[in-house]
Structures are given as C-alpha cells and as structure tokens.
Symmetry: C2
Subunit: 335 residues, 2 copies
C-alpha cells in the first residue's frame, strides 16, 4: 500500500477541488445571512438553521445535481437529489419535512426519468416532494432540489464544534454496491426497504437528542476524508486518522473507497466516553462504525497506514471551502 499515492489521489480528487470557489462567492453576501436576526447557522454546514420559535430550528439545504450525473443516468440523478438532501438534514440531527425542486428541461425524456427518480426517492426516504418550478425550454438539463427540516435548537449537530481530544467516528453502511452508471456512488439504499433506509436517517436525530457527538457531517462528493477535511476546517482543528480503521467494503480498493459517496455515511466527532454508545446506535441500523482517530489542535489531517504517515490536508495553508468565519453568526457562544 503506497500512502503517498493514496494521499495524492485524494488531494486532487475533483470532489474535493471543486469546492474551492465557494468562499469568494459567499463573501459577497455580507450581512445578508442574517438580515432578520434569526439565523442560527449560515453557510458552511450541511444545512443552514433559522430560529422559528418554540425552541425549534428550521433547517434548509439546497443541492444541485452534477450535470454529468444527469446525463449519464437521469433516473438515478433524480433519486440521488432526494438522497443527498435527506442526508444533509440527517447529518444535522434534523427531521426532513419536505422538498421542492427546480427542473430545467431540454430533453423531455430525461425530464420524465428524473421525475420518476425523485418520486421513488421520496417514497424510499419518506419525505414528500411538495412543489417546484419547471423551466420547459432551457438549452440544457439541470436539477436543483432543496429541502426543509426541523430540529430542536438544543440538539443540533454542526460541523464546527469538534474539539481537540475528541474521537473521530466514521460510520458507513457497507451493505451496498457501486452504482452501475456512476461507480463512485456506493448505493446502499435501492435494495433496502423504506423502513430500513428511514431508520438510518432517524438514528442521527436520536444521536443528536442524546448529545452523543460534538460535530458531524454526512459523507458526500468529497468522499470520507474530504468530508472530514471540511468538518476540520469548519471546527478549526485537525485530526490524526488510521486509514485501516475506516469501515470499508473490501470489494472496493482504498483509493476508490475513500472517494465514494455512500448512500448512508457519516463522519462524527465525540468525547471518548460517548463513543461506544454512538457506535452502538449506528450499528443498530446497519451502519458499520469505528473509532478511526482523534481530533488534534494542529490544523492538519494526518493519515496513517501501518507505519507510514502523511499529511492529507494542511488546513493552515490550504482551504477546502474556506467559509468558516461566516459559520456561526447567529449562534450563542459555545465552547
């Protein structure tokens, strides 16, 4: 196993590098994040959060589906638009409530396949698609979905509260297969019942409610360690991770595995005494979980494999999203 090769492959993985333009764009918005004074979490997390009274937060997230996914398999693109949004809410410990989409159509056939995927995703995840907007006449096909969820203000999981000394828990459902038309999608849901799939979403709300974790994110396009990198960046910390401790389906080699977008996968951080309970809950719904490392004060992500160790991200010098400073305007100071 050549750790340098793995690190090089992950650093230059497009799922990570295409996050970089986000900061400049976000910086234009200034105080428009919080014009009402009720914003609890702005950009930089899986979902944003706004206080709506009664100790509740409204969670909002939006995701566009990669054009290449839409071209190569429009049904799967529609299905994934549900999956990625639901996971964004789950990662915050929220309950997904409903989705709306904007569909830009060039090909009518593509459009129908996309809508069938959305329908099946909504039924699988139990989250209604309640409205949207159609552009019937664009020169391209595109799909954007946004989702709303609800979470209690005192039990929300953010990306920005990992602290040195916390353990890094990685949980991934290993019961899956690479999707035939998109090999970096680790499909864990199409062959499962809605009940089993929804149990994996709901467990995160329970983990949040019990206060078991200090931070968390769902594993998405940047892969397991790219997602951890984003969490570390938001929390302004680093980590030391043991590669072989990351749950893996051994049918997939390490480089591909670490770039996978799993149907159900989370990177979490927790104080040591809560790790066991958190892992038990994840495993109770079929998410294989492991204690894969520790959070450190030095803002680097060290990856270890056997006797080798290398730096995957040096967050003092590089940035992934770079929006940490805006992350928590409306939040009370927490330490």
């Amino acid at each position: 196993m050549d750790l340098d090769y793995i690190i090089h492959s992950l650093k230059n993985f497009e799922g990570v590098t295409r996050k970089r333009p986000i900061r400049n764009i976000v910086s234009i918005l200034n105080d428009a994040y919080n014009v009402s004074g009720n914003t609890y979490l702005g950009f930089g997390d899986d979902a944003s959060a706004i206080r709506i009274g009664d100790g509740k937060l409204l969670l909002l997230a939006a995701d566009g589906i990669w054009g290449r996914l839409l071209e190569s398999d429009p049904y799967w693109a529609g299905y994934c638009s549900v999956l990625v949004n639901v996971n964004d809410i789950a990662a915050m410990g929220g309950k997904p409530i409903g989705m709306v989409n904007v569909l830009s159509i060039n090909s009518r056939e593509t459009c129908y396949s996309v809508m069938e995927g959305i329908r099946d995703g909504a039924e699988k995840f139990g989250v209604p698609i309640v409205g949207g907007h159609v552009h019937p006449d664009t020169p391209y096909d595109a799909l954007d979905v946004s989702i709303a969820g609800i979470a209690p203000e005192d039990a929300i999981i953010t990306s920005c509260d990992a602290r040195p000394g916390d353990r890094v828990i990685i949980g991934i459902d290993l019961d899956g297969r690479p999707h035939p038309s998109f090999p970096l999608n680790w499909d864990t849901t199409t062959h499962k019942t809605p009940e089993d799939v929804q149990a994996q979403i709901e467990i995160m709300a329970l983990i949040a409610e019990r206060g078991l974790v200090t931070a968390g994110k769902d594993i998405s396009n940047p892969g397991t360690l790219g997602t951890l990198g984003m969490l570390l960046e938001a929390s302004e910390v680093g980590a030391r991770v043991e590669m072989e401790s990351i749950p893996r389906n051994s049918s997939v080699d390490w480089v591909d595995w670490l770039r996978m977008y799993p149907g159900s996968g989370f990177v979490l951080t927790a104080q040591e005494e809560r790790v066991a309970e958190c892992m038990e809950l994840l495993e109770s719904v079929g998410i294989e979980a492991s204690d894969a490392g520790e959070i450190i004060g030095e803002r680097k992500l060290y990856l270890r494999s056997g006797d080798e160790e290398g730096v995957l991200f040096d967050l003092e010098r590089e940035r992934i999203m770079g929006v940490t400073e805006e992350k928590s305007w409306g939040r009370p100071d927490v330490s």
Copy 2:
C-alpha cells in the same frame, strides 16, 4: 381600444403559454406529494404547505430565474430571485423565513453580479439568504432560489378557494417604472425603503389573519390576468373582469401593463362584505386596489372593456397549469 387585439396578445403571451408543460411532469410524482401524510397543499399554489405541529404550516416555494433575465442583467436577476420568492410566501399570507439558492456558473463576473443582487434583495425584503450550493463549472449560468416561510394553518391564503359570487380584487403598487433592462418588470421596490417594501409583504399576512379573502395569488410572469387565470383554474371557477377597473399606471399601455410582472401585485377574491376592509389594508401600504369583477361558476375568464366583452381563457377547454386535481390532498374538506 381593440379588445380582440388585447385578448389575442394576452393569450399568446409567453409568460402564460410556458406554464403548460407543468401538468405532465407533475403527474409522474403520484403519491410522492404526501408520503409523510403531512402535506397540506402540494403543487399548484404559490407555495406548498406542510404541517409541522402547533397549528403551523411550513411553506416552501422554489423559483428558477429565466435564463434571458440572467443574461441581460445578472444583478437584477439576483435581486428578482428574492422578490419573486418573497412574494410567493406573502401571497399565501405567510411570513418569509429564509432562502437558499443554487447557482450554476459559467462566467465568474455574472456570478458576482447575481450574488450582489441577491444580497441587496435580502436586505430590502428582510429575508436572509442562509445557504446554498454552487456549481462552479457549468457550461451555462443559472440561478434557482427556494424559500421557506411559516403560516398559521387557520389563516392561509390558497389559490383554490374562490367561489362564485366572490369579488375579484386586484392590488398593484403603481409607484414604479418598467425596469430598464427588462421592460415587462414593473419595478416598485428599488427606490423604496426596506420598511415600505416589507410593509407590503406583511399586509398580506394581516389580510390572511383577518380572514378577508377566499383566495389569492401574487401577480407573476403570466401578468395580471394570466395570474387570475391560474387562480380560476385552481378554484375551478371563472370570472368576469372589467379591464378599466384594473389599477394601472397610465404611462404604460394596456397590453404591456397586463403582461407586467409587478414588484408588488396581488389578485385576490373576497366575499363582498369584506372587500372594503381588504382594499383599505392594501392601500394603507401603497398598493392601489380595486374591485375589478366577480367570480362566476362558468369556467371562463370574460374580459370587458366598455361595451365590448370577450373570452380570454376558456378553462373548460384550455388549461394553463392543469394541476388543480392535485392541489389539496392533505387539506381537510372546506367549502
């Protein structure tokens, strides 16, 4: 005045005709509207509504910005993405809470202008833009925005409850000008203070709270009568409207005026005894309001001008959106 010419111009107005593909697309979704059992209003209204407990509804809407608007004036496109979404929530009698966007970028310069427009719109309307998603590498520029709002379940304005005998109230802010780069946008907000603009949004929540109207919609791309046509379609009724009773800024001729997308304009229906109070509230915030006609059982929109009368939409034979049958799955039967 040639009424036939006006009717012909409005029937073939692209703002109306491009709504037509919506039904087929929506029909694919089947029961995916209501998989959770909490959907109160699905597609077919300005915003969808989902029960979240405590007698509250979560309102969700999504709008894509026309590509040609984005090309001709990206700053204005960004600003309008806020305006149209806020008006969707206002038209339901809701309080807008927050927005997220998906931005697909080809040109970086366009992108910055769009974000500046969004920022200024958020500040003007007092609704934060809290998150979103950026596609940094699309071959086109596109902008989709979605918004969430909250409304009490017992005071929501829908499109589908107009009844024969109701009066048709049309309210439009006449203090504006055609936007220089998009002459069918009647800009009523850029020269006003945030307080004045937000008062026009809030008045709709008060009208809803007092139960003054039976149905309502914000005037959008299909123009005043195209919007009324959509409301009639959703309510399965018709109307007889007196053209000269529609509030108009006389600097704009009738055909252009009736195709305008006003910064603040609503089509409402009300029982006769509530018309005066409703109009007073609208006028208290600078929205000129008039009783312009009546709702009839025959599913046609008759337009009258002086002694002439013609049929603008025959909703028994034509459809605008055609999604009325899905509109109210989760709602209790109301009459």
